[in-house]
């Protein structure tokens, strides 16, 4: 119970918010809009899982937003050219993995600091895409939206996919040795190396995996509408890092689990629609987001101070 204190407190905060909404704005709980909200957040959840793994490994990747945009637009263009949908999915994942591998090479291979590397790749991908696309939408062929299924079927498919991925990854990080390697490298890379783990390979794989997940998430977003906005994914890195941090993933690495990330994501995703339902003005949104992030981190800090004091 104590071990999952953080994750439970975030879930608790989420429940408090939902209760407040139930009292003051019960309209929030209509099934159709809720379904839409969850569907829209499904791609974000996928990326958040990948980002959590990177952070647990003591790295960070702020280029995911740009990667998302590149994958979305490229996949859209391929689909518009007639590439069948399954192949488009594969292509998007491959492109994402490729960009992730570039990050991984620079961070793990050349031992460059991840925040700066991903800062550079973020800017490079974003500006290249902007230059090439100049804001033009990509029109998707019929049959792309909702994977050719009906809207509810498509929405549930996306949500279930995200949940399955979440559960699979949560189990994998706990039970697969590869998953444990990530925690080990994130806690102490040198000790991991002495124990026979290869930290550089692990780091590389984690970045590549995040890239692949971004590619998947980009496709999951693309199939939700008949057009691709080249600006999609804007602000994604902030969203997923905040979700991870609020959900208990430690920036110093080695700690955190995906269920906490899930709770953190839901909490942060509720803010905007909650404000609309509670008739709070839109300009409060950023301030509230920042406050939640700070509260989460402060709570962490206070708790660890108490712990270190009690342990002498």
């Amino acid at each position: 119970m104590k071990k999952y204190f953080r994750e439970l407190s975030v879930a608790g905060a989420l429940i408090v918010v939902l209760l407040a909404l139930a009292v003051f704005a019960p309209a929030f709980f209509q099934p159709q809009p809720l379904l839409s909200l969850l569907t829209r957040e499904a791609p974000t959840l996928v990326v958040a899982c990948g980002m959590a793994l990177v952070i647990i490994c003591r790295q960070i990747d702020i280029s995911v937003g740009s990667q998302f945009a590149v994958c979305s637009v490229t996949a859209g263009l391929l689909a518009a050219k007639g590439l069948p949908l399954p192949l488009t999915f594969l292509a998007s994942v491959a492109i994402g993995a490729g960009m992730g591998m570039l990050n991984g090479l620079l961070v793990a291979g050349l031992r460059l600091p991840s925040i700066v590397v991903t800062l550079a790749t973020m800017v490079t991908w974003r500006e290249a895409l902007r230059w090439l696309r100049q804001g033009q939408f990509v029109n998707l062929p019929d049959g792309t939206q909702w994977l050719g299924l009906s809207q509810p079927a498509g929405q549930w498919t996306l949500i279930v996919t995200a949940i399955i991925l979440l559960v699979a990854l949560a189990l994998a990080t706990k039970h697969l040795t590869a998953g444990r390697f990530i925690y080990a490298v994130g806690t102490d890379a040198e000790a991991a190396r002495l124990a026979g783990i290869r930290p550089q390979l692990t780091t590389f794989c984690v970045f590549a995996f995040l890239g692949a997940l971004v590619g998947l998430a980009a496709m999951m977003n693309v199939v939700q509408s008949p057009q691709v906005d080249p600006k999609s994914g804007s602000g994604l890195e902030l969203k997923v890092i905040a979700a991870a941090v609020v959900g208990g993933v430690a920036i110093a690495g080695g700690r955190g689990n995906l269920l906490g990330v899930f709770a953190g994501l839901l909490l942060l995703a509720c803010i905007s629609p909650a404000l609309t339902h509670l008739r709070v003005e839109a300009y409060w949104e950023k301030a509230i987001q920042g406050a939640i992030i700070l509260l989460a981190v402060v709570a962490d800090g206070v708790r660890s101070r108490k712990q270190s004091h009690s342990h002498g």
């Binding site: 620079l106 925040i115 550079a120 800017v123 402060v298």
Partner: protein, 335 residues
């Protein structure tokens, strides 16, 4: 044996010297390609456009040297800008008083970062990520997004827009802050401890250095300088808006890292940061004068950053090659 730190050959290979060459090369290249590039007007443009970002980069250097980071400086610039406008317009303060109050706000905001990082020992990346959102959010909330502050008196606008004794009026402030921070970091014992703290915080603590206090001071200083930058920005633009300074923190970090300061702390210099700011500013302006699109300049900056990072590995690789050659005669005892 002469230590590798000194000596002409070693100084050639230092990061800052290479960067200086890069800056010179950039200058020469753009001078030949852009017809108006080297003119006084253009040089002053480069200077005037870089002052606020330069200030942020300068003040981020001690923080990063100590192993910290501050992502909130750009948002703080925006918050200070609109508060400055509010103090002057809605509270009828004369400009100097409004400026002083704004500096106070900057110090308080820096203090918030400082207390969370030093007192609660929270990771600076996340704390300043939170304040990055919070400060910008407060700026938007205070102005309800729509309010802007303009019609400042001409005497105030002089600071950002006119020339004083032949050079842009904000330049003296920049020079004073630059020299001040350089002296602080490189010539005071106080500042010299920054690198020690960044290199090995525990060791520094054992050595009796007040690590937390110094780190806190660096964050508060960052807040004050961000406020100064906000005032100059408002004067240059003639307008204070909630989205002022968006993206500045990333540019500042780029300049600092380009200048040879390690993001992990412990290594770096203020003159490196200045060179980093110059390198990026000249690159952007030069490409503009050469009629290249803005996106291209940003992309090149990203590539330049990676090259700079990778190039700092070269001395390490050379050193490890040398070490390997030296120890090749003595084989380790096999287990």
């Amino acid at each position: 044996m002469k230590t590798a730190k000194h000596g002409f050959k070693a100084s050639l290979l230092r990061h800052e010297t290479i960067l200086l060459f890069v800056v010179v090369l950039e200058w020469l290249y753009f001078n030949s390609v852009g017809p108006r590039f080297g003119s006084v007007d253009n040089t002053f443009n480069i200077l005037r456009h870089s002052v606020e970002i330069g200030l942020l980069a300068l003040v981020m250097t001690p923080i990063i040297l100590m192993g910290g980071i501050d992502l909130s400086v750009g948002s703080l610039l925006g918050l200070c800008a609109i508060l400055f406008g509010k103090f002057w317009r809605d509270m009828d303060m004369p400009i100097p008083l409004a400026a002083a109050c704004t500096l106070g706000v900057g110090a308080l905001a820096g203090g918030l970062n400082a207390s969370l990082v030093t007192w609660l020992r929270l990771p600076p990346l996340i704390v300043t990520l939170g304040t990055f959102s919070l400060f910008r959010g407060l700026a938007e909330a205070i102005t309800r997004g729509v309010d802007t502050f303009t019609n400042f008196p001409a005497s105030f606008l002089f600071l950002g827009q006119e020339r004083w004794l032949g050079i842009p009026a904000q330049a003296p402030i920049f020079i004073v802050v630059a020299v001040g921070i350089w002296l602080l970091v490189h010539r005071t014992t106080f500042g010299r401890s920054f690198r020690a703290i960044g290199f090995a915080p525990e060791g520094a603590r054992y050595a009796g250095m007040p690590v937390e206090r110094r780190l806190a001071m660096a964050y508060v200083l960052a807040g004050i300088v961000a406020a100064v930058a906000a005032i100059i920005y408002t004067s240059r633009l003639g307008q204070a808006k909630a989205d002022a300074g968006m993206g500045y923190e990333l540019f500042a970090i780029t300049a600092v890292v380009l200048g040879g300061t390690s993001i992990f702390g412990g290594i770096g210099s203020v003159h490196g940061t200045l060179l980093g700011v110059a390198a990026v500013a000249i690159l952007k302006n030069g490409l503009f004068q050469a009629r290249q699109p803005e996106e291209f300049a940003d992309m090149l900056t990203g590539v330049l950053l990676i090259l700079a990072l990778a190039s700092s590995l070269i001395p390490k690789m050379l050193a490890s090659l040398k070490a390997r050659r030296q120890t090749s005669f003595t084989k380790p005892i096999s287990t």
